[in-house]
Symmetry: C3
Subunit: 349 residues, 3 copies
Amino acid sequence: MSNSLTIQQIASAIGGEPSSGLDPKRAIRNLAALAAADEHAISWIDGPKWQSAAATSKAAALIPTADVGGDLPNRIVVADVQSAVADLLDLFADDTDQPEPGLHPSAVIESGAEIAPSAHIGPHCLVRAGARIGERSILVASVSIGRNVIIGCDCHLRDHVVVHDRCIIGDRVAIHATSVIGADGFGYIFRNGQHRKLRHIGTVVIEDDVEIGASTTIDRAKVGETRIGRGTKIDNQVQVAHNVSIGPLSILVGQVGLSGSVRLGAGCVLGGQVGVTDGLQLADGTRVAAKSAVMTDCTEPNQTLMGIPAQDHMTHKRELIRARRLPQLNERVVALEKKVASLEGATDH
Amino acid sequence: MSNSLTIQQIASAIGGEPSSGLDPKRAIRNLAALAAADEHAISWIDGPKWQSAAATSKAAALIPTADVGGDLPNRIVVADVQSAVADLLDLFADDTDQPEPGLHPSAVIESGAEIAPSAHIGPHCLVRAGARIGERSILVASVSIGRNVIIGCDCHLRDHVVVHDRCIIGDRVAIHATSVIGADGFGYIFRNGQHRKLRHIGTVVIEDDVEIGASTTIDRAKVGETRIGRGTKIDNQVQVAHNVSIGPLSILVGQVGLSGSVRLGAGCVLGGQVGVTDGLQLADGTRVAAKSAVMTDCTEPNQTLMGIPAQDHMTHKRELIRARRLPQLNERVVALEKKVASLEGATDH
Amino acid sequence: MSNSLTIQQIASAIGGEPSSGLDPKRAIRNLAALAAADEHAISWIDGPKWQSAAATSKAAALIPTADVGGDLPNRIVVADVQSAVADLLDLFADDTDQPEPGLHPSAVIESGAEIAPSAHIGPHCLVRAGARIGERSILVASVSIGRNVIIGCDCHLRDHVVVHDRCIIGDRVAIHATSVIGADGFGYIFRNGQHRKLRHIGTVVIEDDVEIGASTTIDRAKVGETRIGRGTKIDNQVQVAHNVSIGPLSILVGQVGLSGSVRLGAGCVLGGQVGVTDGLQLADGTRVAAKSAVMTDCTEPNQTLMGIPAQDHMTHKRELIRARRLPQLNERVVALEKKVASLEGATDH
């Protein structure tokens, strides 16, 4: 974060209005959280609960949400604080340089691979025959691209990513380190006292604007394709099995596991460590709370599921509350038993 | 999937009998699911529930299970549909070429490594001193083989697999991309205000015909060995800790975690995201439902476990049902309380 | 394990006293578990429950805990058996040779990287401009070090580890194969029908004496730093999200997932597959049982949590027991209903 920008430059970049108390020529060197900010930093206040942290922050300038009150002589007013923060993250990033086009001498490019002139192929990469790498795409280092893989334009494949034969990756796709696209799905039939492997002859298609975290695995289809929809974002250590289909703009948080042939609609959000049983369908906008296990279809859109097995989240929460009141229920039954015994005694007379 | 085969060739390869309506010379170009099949494809019908999908499929030929009725002029009758599909997957696979024997010039082979003449060592691989690679084994690319590792014949180690020093791998073992065999187990003792590391001086033994998915980790033993039994199949992102022993022909689905010294018998099946506490023993044929956590031994064979903590699956299901009826139980207790109060009032008179 | 040591040498190394029945000059070739030990091995007895296994062990020498009784003519008495075993693991390790200092010719070192003369950079490694590698640190093979990374002294980065730009790693840090330090955190805002990426411009700081398992991912901070405290030990396949802070001497077992901005105190212990919701704080000494999901802060130190959602472990265990008695509770309510109906009939007369 070696960039330095004036208040005026920042305000202009984020479409904000600085308080009159802020010197427009003051230099800001970085973006920091409230508590970590020094007098060269700009920070933001994400609602009234951060008001006290803001009061003691040393930040040179602060961007508060509209509901933050109080006297802030160093505020910059913007319509959308989160967007302003996103802008500032872009402004202060120091890794924005596009690497030089070309092939590192240690890279191995098989004959028959087509690499766009503006692409960058870093050290120890491997691009197999028949693969195509689009304009301005970057293979950072030790990336392994299989035969007949197609990678679009402006992709960013980080260190040690593996893309197996024939997988298709769209434009502006980012894949973080050590993720594996197109490994064989997990399928066997038990015959003659052995697990016989079902070869996986399908592929993986990753649409435009997808981002995939580190150490994530997306298996190829048995036949046909595993597909990740446009603009979907997948976190680290997610397992996507063969023949899964994920709609556009979905979110899969870390360590999610999708079994074979699961179909997610558009705009689904799966919390961390969620699992989904094979073959299930989740409608558009399905949300699943972290750690849940989805074991039945969810065909109605925009439901929120929770639990193992997952059910409607409000039902699940009521069930949890009831479970926590079991000792009291037990005591009430004990009290009833005593009273009834007493009543029985009374009627015996 | 560039192969093209006639109906006659296919029928002969899978031991099937084509309907008289099928032209034996018709060319089939690929295998596809019912809905995705075009007029050049063959597909299969996996039971009566797919009958309607079969009716609208454009597939040139169909392989139905015996319980599929109706008029199918393009059917091919086989005794075992799943085996026929497995055969077809093999037939239409286009990645069956054995790569040329030899060492890629970018591979680093330390002196003292023994590599069979028919083995293939791909780009950027590393084979350390004392390692032995058997006949026809393939190290695809960027595979890292430690000192004194033994790898049998006909193994297939995909891109970026790591096998640490002294691990032993049998014949016909497949390991998918970025998996790590033989990292140190996780063991420390707390002394003098520090976690002191227990060195792991044991090894990992992987028996014949094992397949291991992508991004899976199998740790070496503290002393002795971690052992994966013959023909066992392990999915992606599975964690197998130090000194675990897995019997032959077991199945571990994605994201399973086995703690240290767990012992699985033969033919166990663990669903996705299952965890097993350290030191436990699961008898032959134990099945564990996805997302369960096994916290006690299961010494009787062929049990099915479910839940956190795992118990007999039928017991667990009954418990779930009862938990879901808690509101009704609560209402019944409320009704009883009213009645008893009323009875008490009556007897007070 | 090719070392051979006499009983006398071993006893001296571990500060133990051999029984008079043990020949001080007898050669011991390895350390083994009781059942696996042969007549050239030394083993240990970890409490009375292993007494019968000890009785049939062929081990040449045995190190029992103080509570192990019986006649053991080949015992070596020590004050702390676990420490003695740790010493023996160090003694019998055969991988203790420090590799030669220097750079493997296949490594790529960008100009501007500073590598200590005693460091070892193995085959196919990459060290980017501005990175610094301290004295005696080892990059085993195919390790990828980003720009301006700082790695301290005596670090051990195994095969295929990736450390992204600007991350800071202390002294004596061990990172196992394929782990990724400093990938982007998972953060987006939904604007104009797209998930807009929040660039992650922060870093990761790993303090001295940390050990990190294989296939673990530790994401960089959005702003500021993700920090792993001194002496903390992290197992395989653990996911640590952006801006997490972990205190010193904590333990994270395999497949744990920490969401963004989670703060763990000192000496926390998280069991396998535990998840923690974003932004939570767990006080010093918090222990979380395997498979639990922590969904609320735990501000009191030294609590033990269990369950989904996690609560006090004793409360959770009582809840489990009550849930398992639900059928009996149901039967008692049925019995009460009958009795009350009968009483109502009686009073109706």
